[in-house]
Amino acid sequence: MKLDIDQIKLNSFRDQAQVTFFEPGGALVDSCHSLVIIDAEESLYEQFVFLESLKEVFITMEVGDEHDFPAVEWDEGAQGLYHLKFKRLDHDGQPLIQWTMIDKTQDYEQLLNLQQGRNDKAIGEEFALIQKRMAEVEHELLSYQNEELMRIQQFKSDFFAQVSHEMRTPLNSISGLVSLVLEDEEKAEEYLPALKATSRHLNAIINDILDLSKIDAGKLSFESIDFDLVELSHSIIKGLEFSALEKGISLNLALPEGPLLVKADPTRLAQVLYNLLGNSMKFTEKGYVSLSVSTAASAVDPQKLLFEIEDTGIGIDPDKIASLVQPYQQAEDKTARLYGGTGLGLHIALKLVEAMGSQLEIRSALGQGTKMSFELELQKGAHPQHTEEVALNLEGRQILVAEDDLLNRKIVQEILSKAGAKPVVVDDGLSLEKALNESDFELLVTDINIPGKTGYEVFKALRNRGNEMPVLFISGSELELIKELKAYTHWDFAIKPLNIHDVRKKISDLLPKAYPTEVNMQSLLDMIAGDTAFFNDLVQTILDTLPQEMEKLMNSAKEADAVACTKVLHKIRPSIDYMGIPELTKERHWLHAQAEAGKLDNHFHNRLADFDPWVKQALQKLAKELS
């Protein structure tokens, strides 16, 4: 047998390769058709998209040019992986393209696995690297947060150390003074002013801290009240005059002519001015401290007001001004030792000015004094309504006071005594209960945290027994129990440090009054021109409907439904007015205004609780009138 190697080779690869000749224009010249069948009647560019996309290339190929496509995923007439080669020939003057197509489909899986493996590995490594980088960034962030937490911790420690130090001095004084008073009660009068001044100082420090925490928490709210800025400025300067006199420095005030009526928060503005002026005075040993308020054009509303506080004090190094406005910072460590203070005042003033929409500017030089200024745009205000002094007459009234704090007890006793009362005073919860069980009182003034029993527990026990005696709580802060207390009436609270006017007013409001109930139907008679039958009909209608409306009102108030309360209070207006009791008319008007403003607070409930029996008594009188 003859071995024909070429034939064997040809037989082995015949079906795996195809050779085609075509003209650059696309006409088929010849093909072995072993892999794809080519239609001789149609242009190759019409039959194969792959060739169509290279049409321009084939036309421009020069003789001998070759283009090699080692791997093409083919899907035209056959499906698989092919190696394609194109070569430009010249056959007896005829331009031809030789297209060789070699089937590599059997290698596809292997190639795919190799390439897929390589790509997957590279992508996997890249994502691992990204994750590593992210972990590093996260770690850096955590380190930063940790440092920040440590900084805050350090800040808190410094804060508590400084504030504790500041509070210790007045606390020690108070403790010492109280010991002296306890040793010799007769000397109480002598020590009380010092005790009061020291308490006030301690209170100022605590208020500063509370203000700062409010500012930090963004919980600061501003009131909008009409007041005279000239009057406010005078009172601030008046308050500082004694200290200025003691230090031997002048305190100057420059204000525009006449009253300067504005609508703003006088308490907060006064706080800013007190803090800035107080600060100036602290660092001024000779010369002057001045406050100047000026306005460019008084006719403009809102008007721009420039506040300037100037002193001839020690001054500040300009480089240290920025750090100065940080809380608890004083320009030099030795400053705190020399001049004392928490350093909170300036920071609070700065934050308050910012909250009022302005910026505090500080210009200073060492040894040359300091000038601080800020500009405020304030709305023009009306003449302020001065609060009337409450006339309090408690002669013969049975009043019980429960307070363990000596100073507050003295203040309350003083208020009550001046009003003519001789109160019974106890200093713990057990004595309070005992006193309540032994005698009847018309009013109880009690600390909310009386030792042995809380004021609230005593109050609840009273109400559970059906005792509606008015109670004025004394508390160090806004009552946390307000939610629970809302279920009851005839109570109020006063916050320490006690404001004498506030306590007097609240006692006056709480005590039952002698309500006038004499009805006067003359205006109604006049209105209906003396028609008696019609008059009787109207009065009967009032007698029939008003009790029902009052019941609705009380239920609505119990459900804290301000809208429903407003509606009823509006509806009962004619009935109340026809009874001709001016005080009752005035009271309905007040209740209506409160309900309309949504203020169903304890004052509303207290007064409504009195209004209800008042109306009932008036109705009884009216029924008598009718009969």
Binding site: E52, E56, V57, H67, F69, A71, V72, E73, L112, Q115
Partner: protein, 162 residues
């Protein structure tokens, strides 16, 4: 007379070139990654300014460097879509170099740059990545959702006919 244009999709491997074509031509998508061997051809007929245009789309196997691809594959291309993966920095780190290379071998062909897989990043993160690349006119696409896919092919078609 119908016009046909050769468009090549190039870029690193695994950036979603095949998925973009599958979405554009067949409105399909699969999350599975299957590498392309060599080149694969597809086509789609578009109407551009009331003319019929056949896009012959060459899906070229991804490479980290375009110079590694046989030049024959890029031969005669009328337009280029350069695709990178917006979540993988390695696929756009050498973008400027790659674009310069493509411009040198295909000086007449318009090139559009695609930041694919936008569905994997938030709008803010996408903005950060694109700002960092410092190349204007990059279009973020998602083969998965189809967002901007049609638009980018149409934009390239318009540029090729201009």
């Amino acid at each position: 007379m119908p016009i046909s244009k050769k468009v090549i999709l190039v870029g690193h491997f695994g950036v979603g070139k095949t998925s973009l074509i599958k979405r554009f031509v067949h409105q399909k998508f699969s999350d599975d990654y299957l590498t392309t061997i060599g080149v694969k051809i597809d086509k789609k007929v578009l109407n551009v300014d009331s003319a019929e245009l056949t896009l012959i789309i060459w899906d070229i196997a991804g490479e980290t460097n375009q110079s590694k691809i046989p030049k024959s594959y890029q031969l005669g291309a009328h337009g280029v879509l350069y695709v990178f993966d917006i979540t993988r920095p390695s696929t756009y780190d050498n973008l400027h170099e790659q674009l310069n290379y493509l411009r040198s071998i295909l000086p007449m062909a318009p090139i559009e740059v695609i930041a694919n897989k936008k569905d994997l990043l938030s709008a803010e993160e996408q903005e950060q990545v694109l700002e960092g690349i410092r190349h204007t006119g990059i279009h973020a696409t998602s083969a998965k959702t189809g967002e901007n896919v049609e638009m980018i092919f149409e934009k390239l078609a318009g540029a090729m006919l201009a």
